[in-house]
């Protein structure tokens, strides 16, 4: 199967030299449009991607609501309601689910054979994967902004400029989580295995982070959990977004998120490279799994 999917290396290299920037952009646009259309056409996905964080905001945060305010921690300058505290975490949650969902779509593409169309393209593999990743991030950022717009009417507001300043933070966090999803998708052979991703990746990452509770509170409750939170890259994605809302850069978070993005992306590119990657290895052992 891999032989069919991938052109011979020599041919591909010869092909690549013919492309200029314009061709690369056409390819990127094509992937972006495809991903965008897919998202818009799947109305359930659009709705569910919004309903999930809104449920957390309206139900979880309302029930858990500390009506007397959350203690002041940076970047907050004054007391905030729990709804305000949890919002950057919910933005992160959208990015996390979306990143995993696009990995799901890659598994689906592979099962349905659509992936061949993509991978047979003469463009370099890394470029195709990065384009696919960018398309996923773009779609998830739109979801975040729609969510924030609804939250605005729920009196969850940040300084106006913050909505612009979070854009780079959302982009980077989205890249990291999307790359993670892509890396994971290279290791999943069948769609059914995706439930495992939910249980073993999404939920632990989300819950063992600063998304729901400030880390000082986690530390009070369980020093072990606090250490786990500190090892979780998702914590840093959330904090990066939280500080950006208030016009601040959390340098540690920025460094951690950037580093993990490179690691995950590198892993995904390697994994999708048929000559070295995990696909081949998995297919070798595929029958046993």
């Amino acid at each position: 199967m891999t032989d069919m999917v991938h052109p011979a290396p020599n041919e591909a290299i010869a092909g690549r030299s013919r492309f200029g920037l314009a061709q690369y952009l056409i390819c990127l646009k094509g992937i972006l449009v495809r991903e965008g259309l897919r998202y818009l056409n799947q109305r359930e996905r659009f709705i569910s991607s919004l309903v999930r964080p809104l449920l957390w905001l309206f139900i979880f945060a309302a029930g858990f609501r500390q009506v007397l305010g959350v203690s002041i921690i940076p970047p907050y300058q004054t007391y905030v309601l729990y709804e305000v505290y949890i919002t950057p975490g919910l933005c992160g949650m959208i990015l996390l689910f979306s990143g995993m969902q696009s990995s799901l779509s890659m598994v689906y593409d592979r099962e349905m054979g659509n992936m061949r169309t993509l991978l047979v393209s003469p463009f370099p593999r890394w470029f195709l994967l990065v384009s696919k990743l960018l398309a996923g991030v773009a779609v998830s950022i739109i979801q975040v902004y729609v969510f924030l717009a609804i939250a605005w009417f729920w009196e969850v507001k940040a300084p106006l400029i913050g909505y612009l300043l979070i854009l780079p933070a959302l982009f980077l966090a989205g890249l990291m989580l999307g790359a993670l999803g892509m890396f994971l998708s290279s290791m999943i052979k069948q769609l059914e295995n995706f439930a495992g991703i939910m249980n073993f990746v999404i939920f632990p990452m989300y819950f063992a982070s600063s998304a729901l509770y400030p880390l000082w509170r986690v530390q009070e409750a369980s020093p072990l959990l606090h250490k786990i939170c500190l090892l979780n890259p998702f914590t840093y994605a959330v904090e990066l977004i939280r500080f950006a809302f208030y016009g601040q850069i959390e340098w540690t978070s920025l460094a951690v998120v950037a580093a993990f993005t490179l690691v995950f992306l590198g892993g995904a590119i390697l994994a999708y490279d048929p000559s070295r990657g995990l696909i081949i290895r998995k297919q070798d052992t595929g029958g046993n799994s």
Binding site: R65, V67, L68, G69, I72, P74, P75, Q77, T78, Y79, V80, L81, K157, I161, L165, F243, A244, G247, Q248, I249, E250, W251, T252
Partner: protein, 324 residues
């Protein structure tokens, strides 16, 4: 280590714009650690802390901004502090347990509520002598004065009354029954009404200054909070008489009230057990003292959003901002 830096020059510029050109000193009395904290209203940072007498509560400033007056309740005196040197330069004979006071519009007379003695003491500031002692209800506290200086209103916490006092005769002219435990009296700057907060009653009574009758009662409701937790204390009304701010004690919120329709427009989350309020002279900010969280919160009066909370001393009680 976390280091914070502004993300864009834009935000830096915005922050500078937010810090108005006129920075005024904010003086906060800290009831528990016997100090006054001085905060710069522009940078919103603590400048200095000065030691004062025991249990400082009521605090106000002379109209020229040169002298600060602080009720040192447990020292039974009002201390005068020079705002240039931050030294205590004298005292005023306030009578026992002074809690709250109000300075006459001409700045010459100070009216002090003596909580334990059921008296209002009238002091000549310049001569530092007592002009009169007016017997009022039990546990006098709130003190308000009309913009023309002719009428003074005192509230008595246990008698649950607002006593209207003629400042020329020092006689009570009207007694108006309000809700339980009235804490604070604030005249509308146009002189038409007096607003009286009732801590236990949970209301603010609006008294017409002509008829001397309660014409409206403002009630408060915060989703998710028991009504007992809503205890109105400090009240301030904007210079144009259009908007009022009411500190709601353990509800940790300041209510924004339309002073024309008496509708509560918003509740602003601040620190714990918010007590007193003070406007900056330009009216662009109002500052709340949050007793149990040992901080004050700056609120932007244009957006009615809390801007920043600043830690001060233990149990901040009263607040006053220096005039321009």
């Amino acid at each position: 280590m976390r280091s914070h830096m502004s993300m864009l020059a834009v935000t830096v510029a915005l922050q500078f714009a937010a810090q108005s050109a006129w920075a005024n000193m904010v003086y906060v009395s800290n009831e528990k650690d016997n100090t006054v904290t001085i905060v710069d209203s522009g940078t919103m940072e603590v400048v200095k802390t000065i030691d004062v007498g025991q249990r400082p509560r009521g605090i106000t400033i002379s109209h020229d901004g040169k002298f600060l007056y602080v009720c040192a309740s447990d020292d039974d005196t009002v201390e005068i502090i020079d705002t240039a040197t931050h030294e205590i330069v004298g005292t005023l004979p306030s009578g026992p347990d002074p809690e709250l006071f109000v300075l006459s519009p001409d700045g010459k007379t100070l009216y002090v509520a003596n909580e334990d003695d059921n008296l209002v003491t009238v002091i000549n500031v310049e001569g530092k002598n007592v002009i009169a002692e007016i017997p009022v209800g039990v546990e006098p506290e709130g003190m308000g004065i009309s913009p023309d200086g002719k009428t003074m209103v005192n509230t008595s916490e246990t008698t649950n009354m607002a006593h209207f006092i003629d400042t020329s005769t020092h006689e009570i002219t009207n007694n108006v029954l309000v809700d339980s435990r009235p804490r604070f009296a604030e005249f509308k700057p146009d002189g038409s009404e007096v607003w009286i907060s009732a801590e236990i009653g949970g209301t603010v009574s609006v008294i017409d200054n002509e008829t001397r009758e309660v014409k409206h009662k403002i009630t408060f409701e915060i989703q998710g909070l028991r009504s007992e937790a809503i205890q109105p204390v400090g009240v301030r009304i904007s210079a144009d008489s259009k908007k009022a701010y009411v500190a709601l004690g353990p509800a940790n919120r300041v209510a924004v009230v339309n002073a024309e329709t008496y509708e509560v427009e918003k509740y602003i989350l601040v620190g714990q057990r918010v007590w007193q309020l003070a406007f900056t002279p330009d009216g662009k900010s109002i500052i709340s003292t949050n007793g149990l969280s040992n901080d004050i919160t700056f609120i932007d009066t244009e957006t009615d959003e809390p801007v920043k909370s600043v830690t001060v001393g233990a149990l901040p009680w009263g607040v006053v901002v220096a005039p321009n």
